[in-house]
């Protein structure tokens, strides 16, 4: 089965990650990629699309729903199997580590599926890095706001210049082996309590 005719469904509540995944799959030549973000009646939606591969975010509770699909299908519809076979625990490990799980409809060759899963794993990892970076930027921004507020308080209460206020916080932080942001936070807390 050529890549372009492999039908892939992405089950993910994060639109950004789904988009990253979709783009990667398209670049790799998988043109039939659909995204389900709504978990209501998931099985009905999946049956309607009739995919060859289902890729699902590991933190999605609906993974259990797919397990039923696997069970029921084996009996009455068509077989579905987890991509990775019994011997391939390295692949399971990699996919669980990355936070993704893939299910395939039986009859799709393993060689065809391997690139899909590899790509999903690397995209999931890329998304995790992106998220991490975003979180760090966000918290850096938060810290700067806290430091600026504390600086303002010191300037007002102690009649310091901006530089002096900063130097005071920095030296206190060094002496107490804490982060400047933590010192700044305690200044704000103290000021609020003394109000």
């Amino acid at each position: 089965m050529p890549a372009e005719s492999t039908k892939i469904v992405i089950v993910d509540e994060s639109p950004i990650r789904a988009a990253i995944l979709q783009e990667g799959l398209r670049e790799a030549g998988f043109t039939t990629v659909e995204h389900i973000s709504e978990m209501q009646n998931l099985l009905a939606r999946i049956y309607a699309i009739d995919p060859d591969v289902i890729v699902i975010d590991l933190e999605n509770p609906s993974r259990d729903v797919l397990e039923q699909m696997f069970q029921v299908s084996r009996a009455v519809r068509r077989p579905i199997a987890m991509f990775v076979d019994q011997s391939d625990s390295a692949s399971i490990q990699a996919s669980v580590d990355a936070g993704v799980s893939a299910y395939i409809v039986d009859g799709l060759k393993k060689e065809r599926i391997k690139p899909v899963l590899d790509l999903c794993i690397s995209r999931f990892n890329a998304f995790a890095r992106l998220q991490d970076e975003l979180d760090r930027t966000k918290s850096a921004l938060e810290e700067r706001k806290v430091i600026d507020r504390a600086k303002g308080l010191l300037m007002k209460l102690k009649g310091l210049t901006e530089d002096e206020a900063y130097v005071l916080m920095r030296s206190t932080a060094m002496r107490e082996k804490k982060k400047i942001a933590d010192i700044a936070q305690s200044i704000i807390t103290a000021a609020e309590m003394l109000k």
């Binding site: 209501q40 509770p61 993974r63 259990d64 729903v65 397990e67 039923q68 069970q71 019994q86 669980v96």
Partner: protein
């Protein structure tokens, strides 16, 4: 003594109580264990992370421990269950509309599962005659007591769970919404979700599962067989910590403290009062405020419930055979029974004489007494069942 670090997965449900209290009350630490509890979103995740070694132990559906050991549904990883975290604990909750329909058809006591199952059969037949869609029942996993309890109950009344109704898997946190918006007409799930549906006025608790089976192993403390072999002292310490926690929870004077511990946002994350009701076996069953009490609603260590009983494992395996999930073989039966490890429990706690609360260890409301040594013969007496896969 340096403490041993463990990662243990759980799903936010009341039957994780012994495990959560063991950690949060410090019983695990006193056994020299530094346990990190990891809250998970799906049974598939708990199973996979346990199987891969990302978890050392887990709060697991008893049937999943057996399925994993048999290689059903996923990769084959032998599991050992040295402690039963909960016996019973589920309930069947139905929508107000289905409740009215069943009550209109019932002949006999409303708590008699045979009476309700026969009433359900009449409702199902009437719907079919009127060209209505079949009823949909939610449960938590293909390999779950919820699945088997629902099937056992409705089949006894003549309803074929695969032909006459739809059974769908729903993650427990989605159950109440799905009942409210009509995606399901009923569900079988553990606490706190039944009580939440009743409190919101969207469901009636029709049965405690203890109406259907006097004694059904619900969740186990699961470890990999190989890990248990390599870490016997750690397994024993974990079992002792859970045993102390179970004993703590079962003392009525500790219930309020236990409910508070379990209610924490990073544990179960619901109102302590709702958890308390389940632990006490005193549940509001109807939106109008009607209360029902049962000493058997959820057993956490009482009546020797914590001691794994291989007869329970055999019964769960028999259900997998009955509903076509696997074939009946003596070897598979042997493996299923060997998942439940009273020997490990006894080694940790000190040998104990098993309690025989019910004659056959199960106490089903219908069918012959369970015979763990003749699964095929036992199942032969049931009219509604599947042919195993060939």
């Amino acid at each position: 003594m340096s403490s041993k670090s463990l990662r243990v997965g759980f799903i936010p449900l009341v039957d994780a109580a012994a495990l959560i209290v063991a950690v949060d009350k410090g019983f695990a630490a006193e056994e020299g264990l530094d346990v990190t509890l990891v809250r998970e979103v799906s049974w598939s995740n708990v199973r996979d992370k346990l199987n891969l070694g990302l978890f050392d132990a887990a709060h697991l559906l008893a049937p999943v421990a057996i399925a994993s050991s048999l290689g059903l549904g996923h990769v084959k990883v032998p599991i050992a269950a040295p402690f039963t975290l909960g016996v019973n604990g589920n309930a069947i909750t139905i929508s107000p509309a289905l409740h009215a329909a069943i009550m209109a058809q019932i002949e006999g006591e409303t708590t008699d599962p045979m009476a309700t199952a026969k009433a359900l059969a009449r409702v199902v037949a009437a719907r079919r005659d009127n060209g209505l869609e079949p009823l949909t029942f939610g449960m938590t996993f293909p390999f779950s007591t919820h699945n088997y309890q629902l099937r056992f109950w409705m089949a006894a009344g003549g309803v074929d769970p695969d032909e006459d109704v739809r059974l769908v898997v729903l993650p427990p946190p989605y159950m109440v919404d799905s009942l409210a918006n009509g995606h399901v007409d009923a569900f079988c799930v553990g606490a706190p979700w039944n009580s939440i549906a009743v409190d919101l006025g969207v469901g009636h608790i029709l049965h405690f599962v203890s109406d259907i089976l006097v004694r059904a192993a619900e969740k186990v403390l699961a470890v990999r067989q190989r890990w248990a072999d390599d870490n016997p002292d750690t397994v024993a310490a974990l079992v002792r910590a859970c045993q102390r926690a179970a004993a703590f929870i079962e003392k009525p004077e500790n219930r309020a403290v236990a409910a508070d511990i379990l209610a924490a946002p990073e544990r179960i994350g619901v109102d302590a009062e709702v958890i308390r009701r389940t632990l006490d076996g005193r549940l509001k069953v109807s939106p109008d405020g009607r209360i029902r009490e049962s000493g058997r609603y959820l057993l956490v260590g009482r009546e020797d419930a914590a001691r794994p009983d291989p007869v329970q494992a055999a019964w769960l395996y028999a259900q997998m055979v009955r509903w076509g999930q696997t074939a009946a073989t003596t070897e598979a039966l042997r493996i299923a029974k060997s998942v439940f490890r009273p020997d490990l429990y006894d080694a940790a706690i000190g040998a104990s004489a098993p309690a025989r609360v019910v004659g056959d260890g199960i106490g089903a409301f219908a069918g012959p007494a369970f015979d763990p040594n003749d699964i095929a013969g036992h199942l032969g007496s049931f009219v509604i069942r599947r042919r195993p896969p060939t």
